[in-house]
Assembly symmetry: D2
Homo-oligomer: 359 residues x 4
C-alpha cells in the first residue's frame, strides 16, 4: 500500500494529537515532515515521532518534503497565508479551527483552494467524536423526533500558550478558540441549516489582566428551521475540560459528556500523573479519562480526510463550514457589542472579529 504523504505544520498541543492519530489509526497516511518556527523544536518533535524530515520554513516544507497534504496546526493568524501557500503549491489542506481570522481571509482560502482543485478540509473534530456521532445517528434514526433545541458547551481554565490571549494574533478570546466547536457542530447536526439570528453575552472574568478578549460567553443561535441552539464557552472553568452536548427533540432527549462521562472515578490521597486536559490536580477525587484523542474523534476525522484525498470523494467538512462558523462568531461579537440580536447573513469590515465587541 502506497501511503499518502502528509506534512505537519506545528509542534504544539494539537500537533501532538494529530501525530498520535495518524500513527496509531491512519495507516494510509505517512507523516513525512514536520515544521516548527524553531528548528530545534521541529527536530525534537520529528525524532520523538520518527518523522524523517523537519523544517523551520513553511515554503520549504511545502515545496521540498514531497507531501501531498499539508496539515496546518499553527496559530490562528497564520491559517490564511499558510493555506494559500499550500493550495497554490497544489497541496490538499487540513486546517485546524478556526478556519481563519477574518471572513475575507476565509473567502479567499475557499476560492483559491477551489481554483487549485485541492481539498480545503476543516478539522472540526466534534463532527467525528464517536460519542457525539452516536448521538447524531440516534437523532437520524428518529430516536428523539424532530429537533427543537441543541446545546453544546466547551469549558476549561484557559489555554497554556500565550498567543491565545493576544487578540491580535487569535482574533478573539474563548469564542474564537472554542466557540468554533459549538457552531460547527450545530451546522453538522442540522445538515447545514441556515442561521436566522445570533445573540450573545460575553465577559472577561478570570484572565482580565492577561487578555482583552472574552473568557466566558453564552451565545444563542436561532436557525431558520425553528431550532434554537445554545453555545457555552469558557476559559474560566476549573476542574478540567468540560465538553458536553444536549439534544432536545419533540419525542425525547439525548445527553453526552465527553470527559466526566467517559472517565473512571478515582480517589487518591497522594495524586498521580495526569487525569485529563486542564485538570489542576489529581489528589482527592478525580476523573481520569482514557484514549483522549480517540474519544474526541481526531483519528476518525483524519482518516476521513486522508480517505478523501486517496479516493477523490469530497470531504464532509470543508472550508464552507469553517466560513459559516466564522460568520456566526462575527455576529456573536456584534451582538455582544450592540446589545441586540444580529440577523444573518452578516458581514462587517474589521481587522478581527473581537473588534465588533471591544470597539
Amino acid at each position: 500500500m502506497e501511503r499518502t504523504k502528509v506534512a505537519l505544520l506545528g509542534s504544539g498541543f494539537i500537533a501532538d494529537i494529530h501525530i498520535e492519530s495518524y500513527q496509531r489509526f491512519v495507516p494510509e497516511a505517512e507523516v513525512v515532515a514536520v515544521y516548527a518556527r524553531d528548528i530545534n523544536k521541529a527536530k525534537a518533535f520529528a525524532q520523538k515521532h520518527h518523522i524523517p524530515n523537519w523544517y523551520d520554513s513553511v515554503d520549504d516544507i511545502i515545496s521540498k518534503s514531497g507531501c501531498e497534504v499539508v496539515d496546518i496546526c499553527l496559530p490562528n493568524f497564520l491559517h490564511a497565508q499558510t493555506t494559500l501557500k499550500a493550495a497554490r503549491a497544489k497541496k490538499h489542506v487540513i486546517i485546524e479551527k478556526p478556519l481563519a481570522v477574518t471572513l475575507e481571509e476565509a473567502d479567499e482560502m475557499i476560492k483559491v483552494c477551489a481554483e487549485q482543485k485541492v481539498n480545503l478540509m476543516y478539522a472540526e473534530e466534534l463532527c467525528f467524536a464517536p460519542k457525539y456521532e452516536r448521538v447524531r445517528h440516534l437523532v437520524k434514526e428518529g430516536a428523539v423526533g424532530e429537533l427543537f433545541m441543541l446545546k453544546q458547551a466547551e469549558k476549561h481554565s484557559g489555554p497554556h500558550t500565550d498567543w491565545f490571549y493576544d487578540v491580535d494574533l487569535a482574533g478573539g478570546g474563548v469564542l474564537m478558540d472554542m466557540g468554533c466547536h459549538a457552531f460547527g457542530w450545530f451546522f453538522w447536526m442540522l445538515n447545514n441549516a441556515r442561521v436566522k439570528s445570533v445573540t450573545a453575552s460575553m465577559s472577561t472574568v478570570l484572565h482580565s489582566p492577561r487578555t482583552k478578549g472574552e473568557d466566558n460567553s453564552i451565545v444563542i443561535v436561532e436557525f431558520e428551521n425553528g431550532v434554537t441552539a445554545v453555545a457555552e464557552n469558557s476559559w474560566a472553568k476549573h476542574g478540567g475540560m468540560d465538553d458536553r452536548c444536549e439534544v432536545y427533540g419533540k419525542a425525547g432527549v439525548v445527553y453526552a459528556d465527553l470527559f466526566l462521562g467517559n472517565a473512571a472515578l478515582a480517589y487518591s490521597k497522594n495524586g498521580y500523573g495526569y487525569a485529563m486536559e486542564k485538570a489542576d490536580t489529581t489528589a482527592g477525587w478525580s476523573f481520569p479519562i482514557f484514549e483522549e484523542a480517540f474519544n474526541q474523534g481526531y483519528p476518525h476525522e483524519l482518516k476521513h480526510f486522508i480517505d478523501c484525498v486517496r479516493t477523490g470523494q469530497p470531504p464532509l467538512v470543508t472550508g464552507k463550514l469553517g466560513r459559516d462558523v466564522l460568520e456566526v462568531i462575527y455576529a456573536a461579537y456584534a451582538s455582544a457589542g450592540q446589545g441586540k440580536k444580529i440577523e444573518l447573513p452578516f458581514k462587517a469590515q474589521v481587522k478581527k472579529p473581537v473588534d465588533l465587541w471591544l470597539k
Copy 2:
C-alpha cells in the same frame, strides 16, 4: 404547643405538596380548612387529609375558618385578588409562584400587605431545596471563589392542568410557570443583586395547537455585579422532570441535579407505579426519585414561613422577590418580542406579560 392555623386555598398538585409538607414536617402549623371551587373536591381533599373544614367560597374560608395564615395554591390569575382579600382580613399570606400576573398587581399586593402589617411570603421553594441550599452555603464558604456565572434549568413535558395553557389565565407559558424558579434563585444566590439586562429567545415547539404561549425558552440575565445567569425552561422535554443548577466561580464550580441526581436507577421489564414527576413510563430504565417534596424544599420553606408568623421575624423570601422576578419575566418577553437586550428597570403597560412577545 398552640399551633398556627392555616387555610389552604386550592386542592390540586401543589396543594397536595403543601399539605404533605405541613402534616409531616411542620408540627407548629395546623391546616384548619381547605378551599376548592368545587365543594366536592374540597370535601374529598379535606377528608383525605383529615382537615376539619372545607369551603367553596374564598371569602368564607378567610373570614370563618379561624385561620391566621392563608396559603394560596390557586391559578395565577387569582393570585392578586385572593392575596388582597386575605391581607385586608389581616391574614398572613403564603403565595405560590408567580407572585401575580402583572407588575401593577404585584405592586398593589406588596403595598396592601405592608399597610395591613401582614407577611407576604413568596413560596419560591428553590430557595429552600436542601441540595440547592447546600450549594449556596458552599459558595458562601468560599468553595468556588467569586461567582461569575449561574445556570438553572427546569424542564418537563408540560403541565397537566388546562389553565396553564391559556395565556389569559396564566399570563404566559413556561416562563411564567417555571422561569420564576430560575430568576428567583438567581436573586437568592446573589443576595438580591440588581439586574442590568435581560435577553431571551422563545418558541412554541410542542404544544402549539394547545397554547399561544411559549413552551421553550432561554433567558440570559446580566447582573450589575458582573454575573451572567442563564435560565432554561421547557414544557417540551420528555423523560420526567429536570431541575438542575450550575454555579461557576473564579476558583471552582458546583453542579446539582434535583431529580436524576437524587434518584435510584432501575431497570424494569414490566414497569411499576411511579418514577418521578412527569415521567412518561417506568418500563426500561428509569430514575425513581424519593421524598420528592422534601428534596424540593417545600417543608423547609413552609416551616420557615410558619416560624416567621409565630416569631414575628421577617420572612427571607417576600413579595419583593416575586415582584423582581416578574420584572425579569416582563423584560424577557420584551426581549424575545423586540429581538434585543432589555435593560432594567423595565416597565410596560400590558394585560399580561406574554403580550410583550405575542403582540
Copy 3:
C-alpha cells in the same frame, strides 16, 4: 399534644444524629434528658440542644428523668446491661446497632423486654432510609420480578472513636460496626426469610497496628428462598462514606447510592468546610451531600418508634431482627475462621463474635 419523653444515652456522633432527628422531625417526642459518662460532656450536649436535664449516671437518668423511652447510643459493650436496666424500669428501649455483643446477651434482652412488656426497638436506619425504602417499594410493586440477589456495601476509612478498634469493647471490627446494616437490610428486604448459610472472607489491611479486628470483609449469605446476598464492609476505603445497594430480580434491577448518588458535585481550588461523613478533603472534586441524617432515614426510624410507643402498635424492627443479624455475624466470623460455609442456625460459646475468627 402531650409529647413522649425520651432519655438519650450517649453524646457522640450517633447521639447528635438522634437529637437532630427528634428535634426537627419528631414533634411527638421530647428529649427530656441526656446521659454521658462525663458530666461536663452531658451538660454541654444538653445546653447545645436545649435539653432540660443531664446525668452521668445511667441509673439516675432512667429513674429520675421521667422518661418513657430510653434511647441507647452507647458503645456496643454497654448495650445489654443498659437495655436490661431500662426494661426492668419499664421503659421502652431504642437500641442502636449492633443489638448486643453476644447472642446470650441478645436473647436475654429480648426475653426481659417481653416480660416487662416494653418495646425493644432496634435502630436499623437502613430499614427507613428513604432511597432504600423507595427501592423496597419498587420491588414490592413487582418492578424487578422475583428477587435472586441483593448487594449492600458500607465503607469508609474507619471510626473516629477509640473503642471501635478495641475488640473487647466492640466485639469485632467493621463487621460488628457496619455489617449489621447489610444483614439487617437483607432480612428487611426479604421479609425475614431464613438464612441457609454464611460464607465470609476477612482481613485487616489498613488499621492493623491499631486493632486486632477485621477492617475489610466480604460476606455471602444464602437464604432458604434461593436469594444470594453479598455484604461488603470496609474501614479501609478512602474518599468519604460509601453506602450502596443493588437489587437483582428476574425482570430487572435497581441500584441506589446514598452518598455519591445524592450529592452535588463540586470542584474547589481552596476547599470548604465539610463534604460528607469521613471525606478526607474538600479541595479538588468532592461530593457534598445534603440532609445527611434525613437521607439515611434516622428521622423516619425514630418517628416510627415513637409512634409505636404512643399507639401501642408493635414496631416493625425489633430485637428479633438484631438477634438474627448477630447470628449471621457469628456465622461470618466462624466462616472466615474455619474457611468454610457455615449453615444456620448457628450458635457458639464465645466472649465476643470476633473470637470465632481470631482464635
Copy 4:
C-alpha cells in the same frame, strides 16, 4: 509493508468483533480466510468483510489459506483440538476465552505450542480495555497505594447462542463464559500473584429449564499477597451489559464502568435501533454506548498479538494466564459444590469444570 496473514475461525458474535478490529485498527494484519461449519455462512461472512477465501474445513483453512496466525473464535469444546491442529501446523494461535474446557486440555495446548515454538495468545480483552488499562496504570503510578481488594463484575441477560447453555459443550455456565474475564483481570492487575483460596456461591435463577449450568455466581479469591478479589457474574441481569471494576488501595480507590459509564444518556418515546449489547429495549431511558469494540480493548489486544508475531517478542497474555484462570474456575465450582473454601493449587479429574458443582 508486508502484512501478517490471519485465518479467522468462526463467524459469530465474537468473530464480528475481531474482523472489525483487524480491519479498522490493525493494518499490519490481513485476514486471508474465514472458516465456518456451514460453507454458506463462511462465504457470506467473507463477502461481507472482503475476505478472499472461505472454508468449512478446519484442516483446510490451516493448511491451505497461507495463514501465519490462526484466530480461534469457536465454541469452548473446540478450543483444544483446534489449537493443537494449528500449533502442529506451525501456526501461531490466538484463542478466545476460556482457554479450554479441562485443565488437561490446557496443559497439552501449552506444551504443544511450546514444542512447536508458536505463540499461544490468550485473548483476554480486559487486559487491553482502555478504561481498565487506565485504571491499572493509575495503580502502578501509586494513585491508590498498596492494593487490598479488587472487584470485577460482568453481567447480562444470557447468551444468544444455544451451545452456551449446554454444559457438555461449554463446560459450565456463566462462570465459564464470563468469570474468565474477572479472574484473568485479577491476575493481570496483580502481576500474576498466586491464589491462596477460592470460595464460591452459585445458582441457576433465570435459565433453569434451558441449562443445568449456573447463571449467577459470586466468587471470592484470596491471593497470597493478601489481596481479596470478588468476581460477580450473571446471565440473569436485565437492562444491557454490565462490566465494572472497583480497585481498593490503602491510599484510595478507582471505579470504572465500561458500559453505562461510557454511554450517552437518551430518552426516546419511540425507541431506535441499538443501545448496547443485550439491551432489551431502546424506548424510554437508555444508555447508548459508542465504539463498543474499541472500548472493550479488542483492537488493542489483537494489535499487540500481531505485533508479537511480527517482532518475535513474547505476548503479555498467554496460555499460562488462561490455564491459571481455568484452575480458579475449577476451584470455584468445587467450592460451590462442597460448601467450603478451596485452596490452590487445585486439580481434579472431571470431564468438565461444572461437574465439580453439579455432581
